[in-house]
């Protein structure tokens, strides 16, 4: 276990340089020519919107993604991080958004989880002392070492995770959205721990959507957009507006649909409660408008859709479509009542990858395509052919397996199955263009507009600003399960939405 007095920082301050890092995923360039220097003894903010390349950059630093081009240097010497073990050895660690520890084990056991430097025969007293010391470093002096991690508050768990990382001789810690599920007070304790680690010489990379926090604790900030580094500057040279502008860039606008001409039903949601985040939510939406729910992951926006689709338990609330109350129930019941859901995970919860385009396009319409329980193959083929023409999916035919299509075409099939209905339905689209390239995105947006033109109500969730600005006629911003603001297309800008999505201070709905 090395020396007991200096731990974090490992003696000298780390100098980590990323030089011209480029990373492709197939046709998509996730990072392009990114060069950033991280120093020990400072907190370095990493900002960028979803898809900007933050996750990929973190994975490159943790040895999980090998870059196509570029190099990584530590203290002046080039290193190759072939896997996460190599990154750990080099002193690089990450505290993930999700808990990386074992909830059923005790605090002490968790701190030493995977600690390869431990002596073969453990010395309990020494081990306890070391655990106490590490916990003291993160400000958890009076915690029961034997308590199972699960019994701690979320913020305390995060702090234990920090202590765990410190115990691994971390020279540079990446904190990925460390406060996303924490209360204000708990976040304070995490910041204090990070600042203490920095004072001891460690480097911290702080990744957060909450810009207030970035301004509070970071000394320098790097902004990524579309896989490229926009700038790295000391925090004093930023103000909130310039930072947001750098993250957003120039937004090209897609044409708006003609909301007035649409026959879609008005939607009212009253007192909706979906555990654990959404409580007593009221929403009154005009007919014909495509409504975008803006919210980061964990904001509760997805939970609203899943609750309405019957996939999460709704403890209270009413759905009123075109003045008629639609009783909320399980997914099959909601499907029969004309409520269709499209998951944000098309592989796990969306498509039947082993099945044909024809099957996937008609899954939501089986009842209408059968007589006395018997499916009509001919009407099924006809329905699928019509839809596939409408969505312009590039394939070798309706019999082709969906799993063989490109991501964009898969997503078109998934959205396509909601089209061609009788109208008057409610479509719930969770992140409808996740993982789709720019061109495919515009095509999918056009499909969603067609669905609205056909007289359906559309409610979608997106974490991507461009998408909200391009597609939504009305943007409802959600933070911590509550409505922060409602804005019409005309009065809305990417900047304003981002400002509201990333704020920590909650405004009252107008």
């Amino acid at each position: 276990m090395g020396s007991d007095e200096t731990h974090s920082g490992g003696g000298s301050r780390i100098e980590l340089s990323l030089r011209s890092i480029t990373k492709d995923f197939g046709p998509i360039r996730a990072l392009e020519d990114v060069s950033i220097d991280f120093h020990g003894g400072e907190i370095h903010g990493l900002c960028g919107h979803n898809g900007a390349g933050k996750s990929t950059l973190m994975k490159v630093m943790m040895g999980l993604n090998a870059p196509e081009r570029g190099s990584i240097h530590i203290d002046g010497a080039e290193v190759r991080l072939r896997n996460s073990e190599a990154a750990h050895k080099a002193g690089l660690t990450i505290v993930d958004q999700e808990l990386g520890l074992v909830p059923l084990l005790s605090v002490e056991e968790n701190i030493f989880l995977g600690n390869i430097d431990e002596p073969f025969i453990t010395r309990p007293r020494r081990r306890r002392a070391r655990a106490r010391q590490l916990l003291a470093e993160v400000g958890l002096e009076d915690i029961d070492l034997k308590a199972p991690l699960a019994s701690l508050l979320p913020g305390e768990r995060k702090l234990v995770e920090l202590a765990h990382v410190l115990g691994h001789q971390a020279r540079l810690m990446i904190l990925d959205e460390p406060t996303s599920s924490l209360s204000h007070g708990e976040a304070r304790r995490v910041f204090a721990a990070a600042q203490r680690a920095v004072a001891n010489g460690a480097g911290v990379v702080f990744v957060s959507h909450r810009l207030d926090e970035v301004f509070e604790i970071c000394q320098r900030v790097s902004v990524l957009r579309d896989g490229k580094l926009v700038a790295t500057r000391p925090i004093e040279e930023f103000d909130r507006a310039t930072l947001v502008e750098m993250m957003v860039g120039d937004v090209e606008e897609e044409p708006a649909g003609d909301v007035a001409a649409r026959q879609g039903p008005a939607i009212r949601i009253e007192g909706l409660a979906v555990a654990p985040r959404v409580e007593d939510l009221d929403l009154d939406l005009p007919g014909g408008a495509i409504v975008g729910l803006a919210g980061q992951v964990g904001s509760g926006a997805s939970d609203i859709l899943r609750g309405l689709a019957g996939l999460e338990e709704v403890t209270a609330g009413e759905l009123i479509v075109a003045g008629n109350r639609v009783p909320l129930g399980g997914p099959a019941k909601m499907g029969r009542r004309g409520v269709h859901y499209v998951s944000n995970d098309r592989k796990v919860e969306g498509l039947f990858l082993d099945h044909s385009i024809e099957t996937n396009l008609t899954v939501t319409k089986l009842a209408g395509l059968s007589k006395l329980g018997f499916l009509s193959g001919r009407s099924r083929r006809r329905a699928a052919a019509e839809l596939s023409e409408q969505i312009e999916v590039r394939s070798s035919g309706l019999r082709q397996k969906v799993g063989e299509l490109s991501g964009g075409n898969q997503q078109k099939v998934l959205i396509g199955r909601c089209l061609g209905g009788p109208g008057g339905e409610l479509l719930l689209l969770d992140d409808p263009t996740r993982g789709v390239d720019v061109e495919g995105r515009a095509e999918i947006h056009e499909l969603v507009r067609q669905a609205a033109d056909a007289g359906n109500a559309v409610l979608f969730v997106s974490t991507e600003l461009d998408e909200l600005v391009d597609l939504a006629d009305v943007v409802v911003t959600i933070l911590n399960g509550r409505i922060v603001s409602i804005a019409e297309r005309s009065e809305m800008s990417a900047r304003r939405v981002l400002g509201e999505m990333t704020s920590t201070t909650e405004a009252v709905a107008t």
């Binding site: 995923f25 999980l64 499907g335 993982g435």
Partner: protein, 327 residues
Amino acid sequence: MNSVASTSLGTPRVGPLRSPVTAALLGGGLIAAVAAAWFVLSTDGFATWSNVKAILAASSFIGIIAIGQTAVMISGNFFSMSMGIQAAGSAMFFLYALKFGLLPAILMTIVIGAVISALQGYTIGVWGASPIILTIASSSVLTGIIVLISGGGTVHPPADAPSINFLGDRVGGIAVSAFVMVGVAILAQVFLSRTRYGAVTYLAGANRAAARAAGLPVAATVVVVFALAGLCAAVAGIMMSGFQQTASLSLQGTLTFDAIAAVLVGGCAVLGGRGSAIATLLGTLGISAINSALVLRDYSNGVQILVKGGIVLAAVLAVHIWSTQRR
């Protein structure tokens, strides 16, 4: 693990022979299949009409149950472990119920069998119980109830009961139960490939979460496939009692496992989404044919069981390799 890569790229088509290991396995499997066919067909007395009839008769009870299990497995609920006891119980109830007349006895047995299994399906589909554990527990409960009612003895048809000899009879030399097996297979296949619930059975097995999110009646489908399995077990029980003229708990023998083996040899995917009733029928006949060849060649009981186990293992491996190659 890597969200960008896994969502933005289409799955590339992979040829059937991706690695030398799987290629060798597939080649070895092919050779083994040819050798097994030669071994079976060259057996003295195998390729005779009387032996074919014997194979059909011997496989019919297992085959009928296996067809019901096929629907359960395709739906992604593994298999029911209570099929053997349900078949034996159905046989006992059928003989008892003959006092109400032949047709009422048949109908009552089938309906009760289907309902008992549907209740298990309800617990599994609606409450999310584990299919294997629930059906093992049900099997115990059913055994207890049957022993309680029958006293653990053998049931004989009532003295004035209508004759059930025709159930164990032969038509054109072929056992009636073999005709029933083929009929059940065809009906089950029509259900699976032509009806809405059949389509949902495959989809729920292929991706349960996606089927749920698409608003498909997943829970109802689980109830339906279990009802179908219970119905098949009841039909098998009726045919067995016709063959034996008496019925007791011992009728269940190794029916449950033999039926599962037949489904697997028929190429059904253990995790669901793929399979067919007709393939299960062929699987049943295949196992039966090899068993018959072993008997004709005077191999011991131990060898017969060993070979049967080997076939199931090979079939499961083959299906697994085939399905992972297609991804």
